[in-house]
């Protein structure tokens, strides 16, 4: 058995080497061969081969055979001698090698003159590549010496030369924007070039030169929209630029930029028309009117004989249908004709678009239509189908049986990981959204994990079964599926299965004895993690203690793992006999859901703001820890989102972030000095909250904030002694010394400067600043766990007309996490219960139950109001008081 495996391996190795002759290159021997470069006359064929090897090596960092700087430099200089050969192939290879080696070797500028000669020489096919190589090795210090050549090349008669020079200049902008800006006349001349590619590249460079000046960009678009460019690429570029301006500046469809895009809908080139239409539908400011003119154009494309146009149009309509299904309904008849399109990608997109726009009655027919060719389309398009089903389930919850069956069939068929993941995600979300579909969904998933090759999917499903299974009518039937995994699977899946089993034991007394037996068997597992989990759960469950089960099995700890690790590490370094206090570990807050990115129209503009919340808090604690006065405050409990404290168009833009600690708050003020002729020194923000019991302890001034620059100053405030009254407003005044300075250089003149102040808006410290959201997967178990010791219950009448609004307000005032999906109020209900969970400053669990009912007050039964019974439980008494104060 073993020997046959070996044989297999060897065969694999052999076949892969024969496929790629460079696979087993050795650096030492390649460098040895590279000495051939020093020979005269040049052995062309051999040198080309060696250069190929070198380039291959540089581009395969995983080979681990990277050239060192000295080696690379030596090889590079030897290679420069190959310029003596006139062989075309070799010369092209040299250009490539120069580009590749330019980042590893030293003194690569040695080839500058040789390249400038080639770029101006008689051999046309060398000129463009030489320009590209030249620009690659040119740094800021060398810009001057290539300037003359670049200016000439930009206006060269030969299109390939001009294009090479223009595109390379875009790269040069990074090293010497000032120098490139001096070529603007040549670039402008190139925009008028007859060649459409040159025109496009020139426009691109012109944009780069002007990009920081929005006004100039605007003028540029208007000018060229009238001047009539020949290049459709250039038009597409202008459309994207115009759309960016509209979106960035928050303009509406009355903008001249919009007029330009709109006019492109009537352009004679199809690419331009499509670009305009697809841009319009993704503009932020678009209204139904504009939408329909763009959709009209796409509708025409749908019936085009060209598959490319049909594909582009239906793909865009598919996206439009997500946001504006009504706008696409007009195309339904045309889309129907695409259902049988011989291009299956087009057909899939058409059907899924119809699913989004159509009515409930059509679903069955369309689903049948798709299943007829599902086996013929690629995974990528199958995923499109899955996504469509997902949104259908939300739209027509009653259709879940048809759709779920369909998904289950898809799950059974062949497909890659991404595709399977999409299906599983969809089933899970249906299970979570729709209680009626839960049991059927779980059953499908159980069947799937019986034969699932993807560890991450199996573990996810097991986790879900552990959470949802115990709450179904017949929990026992899931145990078999889960325990099978413990017997048959790899270690990560076994571990997940053990955790799932434990949840059944914790939730049901009836199942507990069986679960204990199963867990005990598993304590002999060969894998550490599986064994540890089994032992841990077995010992816990043996006690059959509800609060223990809730705290450690049904609801997990909500601490941030990275902070826990850091604090434990610190604890082991200290010589203390005090036990470690888990409450001092910062809570891992529920991540704020980012709104989904719009259909991105402009490539190269990455949707920013993807940094995670976690990273943000870690950076804060790093920043604050370097300030000695904050060292004794302990870990940050919560950092608020920034709040603006100044109006938008003033000299100083001030934003405040509140960092809440267990007994203090650090107010961080980020101050942007928008003036270009004054700088600020010794900046502090004075605060006053004495009326509410807040006491300022320390100011950390910002020494200097230069013109157009941002700086941070901190104010440390001690929380009021009365721990049940910790909210209120603090007045803020910024104090600083002003110095005048030269707008050109930003340097201050010698004068002393004078003291000044600037009044800011008050900073509000609210209930939500003291609470972190945490999700309790099993809220009621937690509720029992905390118990009624510190319970506070009261009934309120709130002047709020709808249950939805009431739910929203309570959540935002208290800053707590809705659990058990109780933030969703089912349609047409007159009463609702909201379950919230959070951790109060200092590490205490807080839970809130708000039962609300529509109905007026007893004195005026007809009024629009809600009666709410609010119950708060916590392990900390003042936490209960503070949370209750959020409603008053």
């Amino acid at each position: 058995m073993l020997s046959s495996f070996r044989k297999q391996d060897k065969k694999d190795e052999e076949s892969s080497t024969s496929g790629n002759p460079y696979k087993n290159l050795e650096k030492a021997s390649v460098l040895q061969e590279a000495r051939t470069f020093n020979e005269t006359p040049v052995n062309t064929r051999k040198c080309i081969q060696i250069l190929t090897k070198i380039i291959y090596m540089i581009n395969q960092p995983e080979m681990g055979e990277q050239l060192g700087q000295t080696e690379a430099t030596e090889t590079f200089f030897a290679m420069t001698k190959l310029f003596q050969s006139k062989d075309m192939m070799l010369r092209r290879m040299i250009y490539l090698s120069i580009k590749e080696m330019s980042t590893v070797a030293n003194d690569v500028i040695i080839v500058t003159s040789s390249l400038t000669r080639d770029m101006t020489g008689k051999e046309d096919s060398h000129r463009g590549p030489a320009i590209r190589a030249l620009c690659k090795i040119t740094d800021a210090s060398m810009m001057q010496s290539v300037e003359r050549y670049m200016k000439q090349a930009i206006v060269d008669k030969l299109a390939s030369v001009a294009s090479a020079a223009l595109t390379s200049s875009v790269h040069l902008m990074r090293h010497g924007p000032e120098v490139v800006k001096r070529w603007v006349n040549e670039v402008q001349e190139a925009v008028n070039n007859d060649n459409i590619m040159v025109q496009y590249h020139a426009l691109g460079l012109l944009y780069q030169i002007r990009r920081s000046d929005k006004h100039a960009i605007r003028k540029l678009i208007l000018k060229f929209s009238k001047a009539g460019l020949r290049s459709p690429f250039a038009y597409c570029f202008l459309i994207r630029t115009a759309a960016n301006l509209i979106n960035e500046e928050g303009e509406g469809t009355d903008s001249p930029m919009y007029d330009f895009i709109d006019s492109c809908l009537r352009h004679k080139n199809e690419m331009v028309i499509y670009e305009a239409a697809s841009t319009i539908v993704s503009l932020k400011c678009v209204t139904p009117k504009e939408l329909s003119s763009a959709v009209n154009v796409l509708q025409l494309f749908i019936s085009s004989p060209k598959p490319v146009l049909r594909y582009a149009a239906v793909r865009t309509l598919n996206k439009v249908a997500i946001q504006y299904p009504a706008a696409v309904t007009a195309c339904n008849v045309d889309l129907e004709t695409l259902i049988t399109d011989s291009n299956r990608s087009i057909a899939t997109l058409a059907i899924t678009t119809l699913l989004k726009t159509g009515n409930e009655a059509g679903v069955d027919r369309l689903m049948k239509q798709i299943s007829s060719f599902l086996s013929e389309i690629s995974d990528q398009f199958k995923t499109v189908v899955v996504d469509a089903i997902k949104s259908l389930c939300q739209k027509f919850p009653r259709k879940h049986t048809v759709l779920m069956t369909f998904l289950a069939n898809m799950l059974r068929e062949e497909g890659g990981y991404e595709y399977k993941k999409a299906i599983v995600n969809t089933i899970i979300s249906i299970v979570e959204e729709n209680p009626e579909a839960k049991e059927a969904g779980l059953a499908h998933l159980c069947e799937f994990i019986e034969d699932c090759e993807h560890t991450s999917l199996a573990t996810r499903i097991l986790h879900l079964l552990g959470r949802e299974g115990p709450r179904t009518t017949t929990p026992a039937k899931y145990i078999r599926y889960i325990y099978n995994r413990v017997i048959l699977e790899n270690a990560p899946v076994r571990a997940a299965a053990v955790s799932a089993l434990a949840k059944f034991g914790a939730a049901s007394e009836e199942l507990l004895p069986n679960i204990l037996v199963l867990l005990q068997r598993t304590t002999l597992d060969q894998d550490d993690e599986v064994r540890d989990r089994a032992t841990f759960y077995y010992q816990l469950l043996k006690h059959n203690d509800k609060p223990l089960n809730s705290a450690y099995i049904l609801n997990s700890m909500n601490v941030s793992i990275s902070s826990l690790e850091r604090l434990l590490h610190r604890y082991t370094m200290e010589s203390t006999t005090k036990p470690f206090d888990v409450r001092s570990v910062p809570v891992e807050a529920v991540p704020v859901e980012q709104p989904k990115a719009n259909i991105s129209i402009v490539s190269g503009v990455s949707p920013g703001g993807s940094e995670s919340k976690k990273a943000r808090e870690d950076t804060f604690s790093e920043q604050l820890s370097v300030i000695p006065e904050f060292a004794h405050l302990g870990p940050i409990f919560k950092s608020s989102l920034p709040v603006d404290l100044s109006e938008s168009e003033v000299e100083y833009v001030v934003r405040c972030i509140k960092h809440v600690f267990s007994h203090y708050i650090v107010f961080q003020f980020d101050i942007n000095n928008t003036l270009n002729d004054q700088l600020l020194e010794k900046v502090t923000v004075q605060m006053d909250g004495s009326a509410e019991g807040f006491e300022v302890v320390h100011y950390t001034p910002c020494q200097v904030i230069k013109c157009n620059d941002t700086g941070s100053t901190y104010t440390l405030v001690k929380l009021p002694d009365d721990s049940s009254a910790v909210t209120g407003a603090l007045a803020c005044t910024m104090k600083y010394t002003v110095k005048d300075c030269d707008p050109a250089t930003g340097e201050p003149d010698d004068e002393e400067g004078y003291a000044d102040e600037f009044v800011l808006e008050d900073v509000e410290v609210s209930v939500s600043d003291h609470v972190q959201k945490v999700l309790k997967p099993n809220w009621s178990a937690s509720w029992e766990e905390i118990g009624a010791e510190n319970e506070l219950e009261d009934t309120y009448t709130l002047p709020i007309p709808t249950l939805e609004e009431c739910v929203k307000k309570i959540i935002s005032y208290m800053g707590m996490q809705p659990c058990e999906r109780s933030d969703k109020v089912p349609d047409g209900k007159a009463s609702h219960a909201l379950y919230l969970a959070g951790v109060y400053r200092g590490g205490h669990d807080v839970l809130v139950r708000a039962k609300m009912a529509l109905g007026g007050t007893s004195s005026d039964p007809g009024a629009q109001a809600i009666t709410m019974q609010l119950t708060i439980r916590s392990t900390d008494e003042s936490a209960v008081q503070v949370i209750a104060s959020a409603v008053e």
């Binding site: 005269t40 080839v111 003159s113 040789s114 003359r148």
Partner: protein, 190 residues
């Protein structure tokens, strides 16, 4: 292939290919001198200061020359050394009208001669006392003593005055170099 080559060589058909290195301070006229050696129709009127190096080809006395025209600016002089090992001869150009910097040229020459890749080999060197047309320019004898050529005893060398723009004296020096390279190659072969 090697056999066939030398056979052709012996018959005097194929031209033997040799490399020479052209060095000297910036603005001394290296590129101008090589420009003069090009065929008439490819000569240019405009010569920019060299950045790095440039390659030129010319033929003389049955030898096919590849000349590495190095940049003389101080920041590039350290790069000359990369090309010493593979060169068959050296052309050292001096601006004989630039009396102040001739001492700098002497320094650079000393550096070159003491480099291991040069000192260990018998490489002929031709010196051009260039820009002889400029008034008050030093004579070849003057340049020779300013550079301290009397002390150079382990290399065969030759000096001649030149005007790179008009070509005066250029052929003279290159012909000497060709013969010197030939005999040094023959010596090596024997």
């Amino acid at each position: 292939m090697g056999l066939l080559d030398s056979f052709f060589d012996w018959l005097g058909f194929g031209k033997r290919e040799v490399n020479v290195l052209v060095v000297g301070l910036d603005n001394s006229g290296k590129s101008s001198l090589l420009n003069y050696l090009r065929p008439r129709e490819t000569q240019t009127d405009f010569i920019a200061p060299t950045v790095g190096f440039n390659l030129e080809h010319f033929v003389c006395k049955g030898l096919s020359f590849t000349a590495f025209d190095m940049s003389g600016q101080s920041r590039y002089r350290t790069l000359w050394g990369n090309y010493y090992r593979t060169t068959n001869g050296i052309i050292f150009v001096v601006d004989s009208s630039d009396k102040t910097r001739i001492l700098v040229a002497r320094e650079e020459l000393q550096q070159l001669l003491s480099h291991p890749d040069i000192s260990s080999r018998n490489i002929p060197i031709v010196f051009f006392a260039n820009k002889m047309d400029i008034r008050d320019a030093l004579s070849d004898v003057g340049v020779s003593s300013a550079l301290g050529l009397d002390g150079v005893t382990n290399k065969s060398w030759h000096i001649c005055s030149s005007n790179a723009l008009k070509g005066e004296g250029v052929a003279d020096g290159i012909e000497w170099l060709s013969s010197a390279i030939k005999s040094s190659l023959d010596q090596a072969r024997r």
